[in-house]
Amino acid sequence: MIEDSPLPIVELRDVDKRYGDGPLILDKISFSAKRGDFITLIGPSGCGKSTILKLISGLNPISGGRIVVDGLEPANAVEKLAFVFQEPTLLPWRTVAQNVEVPMQLHGADAKLRQEVARKSLSLVGLGDRMDYYPRQLSGGQKMRVSIARALSVSPRILLLDEPFGALDEMTRDHLNEELLAIRQQLAWTAFFVTHSVAEAVFLSNRIIVLSANPGRVHSEVRVDFPYPRTEETRESAPFGKMVAEVSKILRSVERLH
C-alpha cells in the first residue's frame, strides 16, 4: 500500500515560528506525513494550526528548524502543493471555469489545456454544468467546490486545506467531506487539513494531530483507523461516535491547560 511507503513526503523537524520580534507562535513542531496521509490539525484557537499550513506552503518563512516537502525546501516545492483557503477566494469577474484556470494561466499553460483541465476538475466536484456561471451566482458550498477544483487543477501531490468548510452549514459540510474523500480515492494526494470540528477531523483523517496553544506545540496524535472509503454509515456508526468523544476529551484537556 502507498501508506506503507517509507519516505515521508512532508517532514517538519523542530519548527519554530515567530513574526518579527513577537512572541513564539510555534515551538519545536515535529511530525511527518507519509504519502497518502490525511492529517488533520486540531487545537484551541491561537495554537498556530493555520500557521503550520502556511509554513508548509512556503507562503511564510520558518524561524527555526526544518521543513522538507518531497525532498525540497517549501519555497521550491510550490508546484507540488495546492492551498484551499478559509474563503473561496474566487475572482468575481471571472466565470467558474476561468477561475479554475487561474493557477495554470499563471504558470503559463496554454488555453486549450487549461480549458480541458478546468472541465475535468469541475466535473470532479460536481459543477460541470456551472462552468459559465459567475461566482456571485453560486451558493457558499458551490463556491468552495470551485475553490477545491481550482486547487486540484494543478495536480498537486499535497493539498493544504485551511478550514475550508468552516463557514458552511452542517449538511453541506458533511456532504463536501464525503465528496472530498471520494475525490481522494481517485487522485491520491496527501492532505493537511485544519478544522475546529472534531467530527470533521475524525471523518476525514487517518491521523489527527492535537496542538496546544501559546506557543503552539504538538500535544498528541490520534490515529483513526476506519477504512476508506468512508461514507455516511461511517459517520453514523458507534465506533465513530466513540472516537469523536475521545478526541473531544483530549481537546478539552488541552484547552484546560491554559
Partner: protein, 271 residues
C-alpha cells in the same frame, strides 16, 4: 385583475408619467413668472417659446460650437483617463510613492483653473490645446484618486492566493489588481464625465479661440451675453447640459458593459 395588481400597475404608469408631468408643470410655472415680470424686466427671463425659437435660429452656430466643445472635452477626458490610469499604477506600487506624490497632486487640484488659464494661453496659445489641457486638469484628479484607491484595495485573501501561485508582480497587477480596481475606476470615470464638458466650456470661455469657427459653447456664451440675447444664452445652457448627459450616459454604458455580469452594483437580487 385584482385591485392590488391594478394599484401596482397604476403606480408603474404614474412613475412613467410623473417626471413628464413635472416638466410640463415647470414650464407653466416658467410662463407664470414671465407674465408676472414688469415690462422693463421682461428681457431678464425669456419665455420657453423664445428659447425654442433661439434654438432654431442659432442652430448651426450652437451645434458647431457643441461639436468643438465636445471634441475638446473628449480629448481632454480621454487623456486624463489614460494618464491617470498609468499614474495610479505607479502610485499603487508603494505607500512611499503615494506619500511623495499626493501633496503635489492636491496642490494641482487646489490651484484655481481661472488662474492657470492665462498661463496656458501664454504657453500654448488660445484654442483647442488650452481647452484640452484645462479639461484634462479638471478630470485628472478624481480619476487618479479613485483608480489608485481601487488598485490598493485588492482583497488580501486574493493577494495571498496569487502569492501562493507564485504569480509575478506583472501578473498580479494584470490579472488581479487592475480588474479588482475596475469598479473604483468607473466611479472616477463617472465623476470625470460630469466634469469634462463643464471643463471644456469654462476652458473655451477663458482660453478659447474664436477664429475660423473654432469657437465653442464658452465663446458663444461670451457673444450672446454681450448682446443680451437671453433666449440664445438659455439655448446654449441647454446644449451644454445635453453634452454633459451624453458623456455621463456614455460612461454608464461602458461601466455596464464592464461590470454588469459580475459586480454587485448591477445585481438584481436574483443571486
Amino acid at each position: 385583475m385584482s385591485t392590488k395588481r391594478k394599484k401596482a400597475s397604476l403606480g408603474a404608469v404614474a412613475r412613467k408619467l410623473l417626471p413628464f408631468a413635472t416638466g410640463v408643470g415647470m414650464i407653466f410655472v416658467w410662463y407664470g413668472i414671465c407674465m408676472s415680470l414688469s415690462a422693463d424686466q421682461r428681457f431678464l427671463l425669456p419665455t420657453p417659446h423664445e428659447v425654442a425659437r433661439a434654438f432654431i435660429e442659432k442652430g448651426p452656430a450652437l451645434w458647431g460650437a457643441a461639436l468643438n466643445t465636445g471634441g475638446g472635452a473628449l480629448i481632454g477626458f480621454g487623456l486624463a483617463v489614460a494618464l491617470s490610469f498609468l499614474f495610479a499604477l505607479v502610485l499603487s506600487l508603494s505607500p512611499l510613492v503615494r506619500a511623495s506624490f499626493y501633496p503635489y497632486l492636491m496642490i494641482l487640484q487646489m490651484t484655481p483653473i481661472i488662474v492657470i488659464a492665462p498661463i496656458l494661453i501664454l504657453w500654448v496659445g488660445p484654442g483647442l490645446k488650452s481647452v484640452v489641457i484645462i479639461t484634462f486638469l479638471i478630470c485628472f484628479f478624481p480619476m487618479v484618486v479613485n483608480t489608485t484607491q481601487g488598485l490598493i484595495s485588492t482583497d488580501s485573501n486574493l493577494v495571498a492566493f496569487f502569492k501562493m501561485c507564485k504569480a509575478s508582480k506583472v501578473q498580479t497587477i494584470l490579472f488581479l489588481r487592475v480588474p479588482a480596481a475596475l469598479p473604483y475606476f468607473f466611479t472616477g470615470l463617472r465623476i470625470a464625465a460630469t466634469l469634462a464638458p463643464i471643463g471644456a466650456i469654462v476652458g473655451d470661455y477663458i482660453a478659447g479661440n474664436s477664429a475660423g469657427g473654432q469657437g465653442g459653447l464658452g465663446f458663444l456664451t461670451i457673444i450672446y451675453s454681450s448682446q443680451f440675447q437671453m433666449g440664445a444664452l438659455f439655448a446654449t445652457a441647454a446644449v451644454g447640459c445635453l453634452l454633459g448627459f451624453i458623456f455621463v450616459m456614455g460612461v454608464i454604458a461602458l461601466s455596464w458593459l464592464a461590470l454588469h455580469k459580475w459586480h454587485d452594483s448591477f445585481s438584481h437580487g436574483d443571486t
